[in-house]
Structure formats: C-alpha cells, structure tokens
Amino acid sequence: MLEIRNLHVQIEDKKILNGLNLTVHDGEVAAIMGPNGSGKSTLSYVIAGKDDYEVLDGEILLNGENLLDMEPDARAAAGVFLAFQYPLEIPGVATMTFLKAALNAQRKARGDDELSTPDFMKRVRAGAERLHIPQDMLKRALNVGFSGGEKKRMEILQMALLEPTFCILDETDSGLDIDALKIAADGVNALRDPKRSFLVITHYQRLLNYIVPDTVHVMSSGQVVKSGGKELALELEANGYADYRSQAA
C-alpha cells in the first residue's frame, strides 16, 4: 500500500525528516509513536502534500504511484486522507456544504457521478449518528466554535464519508476524554478493511488500546528507529522515549 524510502525533508532550512523508511501493507494498521517534535506531523503533512515542506530526497509510493509528483487534491482523490491534529475552521461554510463539495470533487476526479442529495444526506446522517454528532452541528460552519473533541469526531466523519484507502490519524486522541476516545475509535474500527490501511500517529499508547495496531513504529529525530508488534507500544509506555532520544541524537 504505502512505501516510503529514504525520505529527507526540511522546512525553512531546518532538517526534520532524516532518511525515513516505512512500509504499510494493505489492510494494516500501523502506529507511529514518538516524542514531541520528532517529526510525526511533518511526516503526515508530507504524505498529504503540504506546500511548505521541501523534500530533499526519497520517495513516497502509494500502490506504486509516486505521491510526491501529485497535488494535494489529486492525492486525496487517490485515496489519501489526513485527520488533522489541529483541524482548520472554515467560517461561513456549512459543514454539510463542505462535505458535499469534498465528496463530489473526489468523485469527479475519479470519474464517478455526483451523489444525489438524498443519498448524500442519508450517508452523512448515518455517519454522524455513529459518531454521536448531533444533526444540527452539520448546519453550522465547519469546525467554527466546535470543541476540540467535536473537531476530532468531525475528522472521523469526513474520513468515513470520503472512503479513503490510506488514512492518517494525527494525534486524534489528544483533547479527547475517554468516552469521546471510545466513540472515535469505534468510528475508525468500523472502517477497518482489507483494502484500507491506517497510519495512527499518537504520543500515548492509550489510543492503541482501542485502535489495536498491527505494527508499531517508533520515530525519533525524523527517523523510524524501531519497529515491532503491538507490544512495542506497551514497552514504550513503561520505559518512555528516553532510550530512543539518545539513540537517534
């Protein structure tokens, strides 16, 4: 599914990713853990195609296609979805309007017809219900005045609706209380599928009790420094990141 080779990235002359390698297979849920500032969000932005980052070397292949050659909207249409650590507010644009525009843009890019309004409404309503998002929130401007938890759930709703093949969740657990965390995790688990992969970025292992990963990768100073099974997360929980910090530096 996703193959990252020797990725070197800098921003404003500051080197952040230093030869990162990562493979995620079809249907795999891969967790990325690492201390603050290790470059986790940077990795997610570079996969999604954010402008500010300068890729010095390396490649990112999604099902053999080089993502680095594609615009962010084309990557989205190709199946990349990023649930943001800090979702953006879009004033004046009703959530429902935004969702419809996004879905239809992607369908158009893939050569599919627009979804009819009733079909679209049905899907959104069902998704919102599963994530305990009240219907009237869908009429409000996207993310404007939403609580931290509401924003995160809205990200999952968008993910469910857009049906991506490669989902990145950047610290979806931060700012969520335990009930909200469970709801969000249920939402993600419902999307697990042999044809869909996940990159779950988290600082804490707590989330991984609810979204159980197949693999865990430890990131430090812009590199994956250790990979293992889900037990690696527990180990990190017990020992902290101290070992890896020194190792990569």
């Binding site: 909207d73 989205a76 249409a77 953006l88 879009i90 996004a102 843009a105």
Partner: protein, 489 residues
C-alpha cells in the same frame, strides 16, 4: 465626502457664445465627433429627440460642469482623463428600433449568449413569451429592444428608456429628474446630466405591485465610447418594484469611462429593491485597460414608511467609484445596502454607501463584504448620519474584508455623524485572510485550490447573496468565482 463648490459667477464667466454649429446639421450620423462642447450636447439632445426644456437642462448642466473639478478623495489612482478625447454619443448601426427579435443583429444575440445571460432571458430575447423577467436591453446608447411593455401597461407600470420617458411622460420626468441627485451634485453626475444618452425609466402607480422583476443588461460596445446612463425609478404610494441591472463589457484595451446616475424615489409606504451585478472589463493581468466606473446612485425615501434596498455585486471595472445611498426623509423609512465587492489583478474599488437619516424613527442596515485578491485595492467608504430631527434613528453596519494573498489591500473608512442624541448606530468590522493552512485543509479533502477559494468566498458573502433574487444569486455566485480565478495556487 465634500460637496462641490461652485458659484453663479463661475457659471456666468463661461463664454456661452463660443459654440459653432459645425457638424450638428449632420443629424444622420451615428457618432458624434470626439470631445465635449455645447454643440455636442445639443447634438445628443437632438439625437434623443429631447424637448426644448431638456436641451436647456443639459446645457445648464454642461456649463456648471465646466466649473467643477474631478474629485480626488477616493483611494484610487489613474492617469488623468482627457474629457475631450472621448466620444459622447454612439448609436448602433440600425436606425429604427426593431419590431421583432428577428430583426436583431444575430451578432448581438450571440454576444448576449457569450455574456452568459441566463437561458430564460435569452428565450425571452428570442421571443418566448412565458417568462417573467422583462429586459430592457441597452446596447451602447440606445435601447435596442424593450419587452413586456404590454403586460406592464396593464398594471399601469411604465418601463421604458429615459429618452422615451422624456418624450412621452414629460410631466413625470420634470417632476422627479434631478430631485435626488441634483444637477450639480458632483463632477461625474453633472457630466452625466449634460450628456446622458440612455437608461431606464420606471414609474409604478399607487398601490401597484410590479408584476415582474425589471431587468436591464448594459453593455459597452463602441470603441472609446463613454457610457452615460441615466435611470429614474419612481415608486408611488404603496407600490413595490424590484429592479435588476446587470452589466458586462467585452475585452478592450482602452480605458472606458462610465458615469451613470441612478435616482430612486419611494413615496409613502412604497418599496424599491435595486440589485446590480457589475462585470465590466477589469483590465488585463498587467493592469492595462478596463472600465472606469464613476457612478452616482441615490435613493430618496421621500414618503413615510418607505423602503429602499440596494444590493450590489461588483466584480468588474478597473476603477469603481460608487456609493449607492439612501436619504431617509420619510418618518419610519428604511434604507438597506448589501454589497459584495470583489477585486483582483490591479483593480481598485472605492465603494460604500451613505445613509442620511432625516425623518423620525428611520432605520438603516449596511452589510458590506469586500474581497481583495491579486494586487488590488478594495476600500469600503461609508457615511451614516443622523440629522437633528432624526429622533430614534438606527443603523447597523457590518463591514467585512477578506484578503486572498498578501499583495492586496483592504481599507475601511466609516464616517459617523450624529446630531441627535437618541440615534443608535452600531458598527462591526472584521478583516480576515484565507490562510494557506485553510487552503491545504480543503485540498486535502479533494477540493481544487479554485473550488476551495470559491467555497470559502461563498461562505463569506452568503448574507449578501441571499438578498439577490434567486436566479441572479446563482449567476452572481458564478461570477464571483470567475473573477477570482487565478488568485490562488
């Protein structure tokens, strides 16, 4: 905004005897020579078949104009206009107004199509009778076709070109023309008073609700021709009318001067809704060419409980100088101004409104949305004033600016003058920017940069678009997206 000073002495000092007749004998010609003098004014007047009083009115305006200075207070810059290097009259080649649409030059119909006039209006122009929008199409300076007159006639509504009104309804024109925008109001309005060639006239009799939207498409066609439209709308007691003015101009290298005057008069319990979609040529990517749009629009809520509402979507023109205003004279009268002004490239917009509260318990509402992109400058300039006797005057102003990119400018210049202690004026203003992060977020969801910008902009202007008649709101929304093309990504 300073009133223009002039004195009777100055007017007298002009040598009014220096004109010669020259070309004026050639009444058949389709174009007056370049330049402006009393001969040209008389020529235009003769061309329009004006009665003598109208010719005098024009000449008086012309003489006063000679004493006036171009205003310089707006935040716009442009090379000095040589008013003697412009044509003031041009007519389409055809001499007589066509009896049916078959007689219309197919090229003109083709142009309408290219301008994106909705199918409904095209059908109407093609003679299909069951649509409810009446279009008084102004092609350069002469009305080419006026439709729906019969149905309007049944309702007692007069909707015709201003020249026809001057000939056919002189008593109404003489009673109202120049009573809202006086001949000497400002440099451009005075110029317009001297040389206006066409425009619309509407009279809605007491108690009548005009049975359809009235709509005019303006187009500038002739090379180097200044357009001087004159529109006069009178809503008599207890009547209602909604009027839409839509404008587009073809690509053109020379700057074109446009100085229209629109006067609205609402008597007791009457309501006028005036909507504008303006899409004249804004100049090219280097800021070359484009229309200079110096417009005076003013409504007089003359009667008690009257209401005038201006809605404008301004996306075109290289320079816009425009302040549709309301004089709230009648007690309990209400004025509204809803504006979307989009500037891109090197466009300069200085626009806003004046709400002049004179009567008791008058209220006004201003919602202005300015969007600046490219290297454009976009200024909101507004005045809200309460006269000494305007007890209970109320105003609410909301003035938002949205910046796209970092080479454009947004400016807000609100003036407030209150001479009555009971007046309550509220003012809100915000300036925001479409951030790179917002755009990336939208792109990540699959929207293109252009779709994302359009979506965010639509959210920004929603409150104003809602004020437009439904079918025009859709067009306006498209127009806004088109004008912002190339502003991101």
């Amino acid at each position: 905004m300073p009133a223009v000073q002039e004195t009777v002495e100055q007017v007298r000092s002009i040598d009014v005897d220096q004109y010669k007749y020259g070309f004026i004998t050639d009444i058949e010609m389709d174009k007056a020579p370049k330049g402006l003098n009393e001969d040209i004014v008389r020529f235009i007047s003769a061309k329009k078949g004006d009665p003598a009083w109208m010719t005098e009115w024009r000449l008086d305006a012309y003489r006063r104009w000679l004493t006036m200075q171009e205003p310089t207070w707006a935040r716009v810059e442009y090379p000095k206009i040589d008013f003697n290097d412009l044509y003031y009259y041009a007519a389409p080649k055809k001499k007589e107004g066509p009896k049916s649409l078959d007689e219309i030059d197919p090229a003109i119909l083709e142009t309408y199509k290219k301008l994106g006039i909705p199918l409904r209006e095209q059908e109407m122009l093609a003679g299909v009778q069951n649509t409810r929008v009446a279009v008084d199409a102004v092609f350069d300076s002469v009305s080419v076709v006026t439709t729906f007159k019969d149905e309007l006639k049944k309702a007692g509504v007069i909707f015709c070109s201003i020249s026809e009104a001057i000939r056919e309804h002189p008593e109404l024109v003489r009673q109202y023309l120049g009573t809202v925008v006086p001949v000497t109001d400002n440099f451009y309005a005075t110029l317009n008073s001297a040389v206006f060639t066409d425009g619309s006239f509407v009279y809605v009799p007491p108690g009548v609700r005009c049975p359809m939207e009235l709509s005019t498409y303006f187009r500038i066609n002739e090379k180097d021709t200044g357009q001087f439209e004159r529109t006069l709308i009178i809503a008599d007691k207890g009547s209602y009318v909604s009027y839409l003015e839509g404008c587009t101009a073809p690509q053109r290298d020379e700057n074109q001067l446009h100085a229209a005057v629109v006067e609205l008069i609402a008597l007791d319990d009457a309501e006028i809704k005036y909507s504008t979609v303006q899409n004249w040529y804004p100049g090219d990517a280097q800021g070359k060419g484009g229309v200079y749009n110096f417009v005076t629009k003013r409504g007089d809520c003359r009667g008690a409980n009257s209401k005038i509402s201006w809605t404008q979507v301004e996306t075109g023109s290289a320079i816009t100088w425009k302040y549709p205003s309301c004089i709230l004279r009648g007690d309990n009268s209400r004025g509204e101004f809803y504006s979307i002004a989009v500037s891109n490239g090197y466009q300069q917009v200085d626009s806003g409104t004046k709400m002049i509260h004179l009567g008791k318990n008058t209220s006004s509402r201003i919602i202005s949305k300015g969007i600046s992109a490219g290297r454009s400058q976009n200024t909101y300039r507004g005045l809200v004033s309460a006269h000494r006797k305007a007890t209970g005057a109320r105003n609410f102003t909301n003035c938002d600016s949205l910046l796209i990119g970092d080479q454009c400018g947004a400016h807000t210049v609100p003036y407030i003058e209150s001479k009555n202690a009971s007046a309550i004026f509220e003012h809100e203003a915000t300036t925001s920017k479409i951030s790179e992060d917002q755009l990336f977020y939208c792109l990540q969801r699959g929207l293109s940069a252009e779709e994302a910008t359009a979506l965010i902009v639509n959210g920004f202007v929603k409150d104003v678009l809602q004020q437009l008649p439904m079918e025009f709101a859709v067009e306006a929304q498209k127009l806004i997206s088109i004008s912002l093309e190339g502003s991101v990504g």
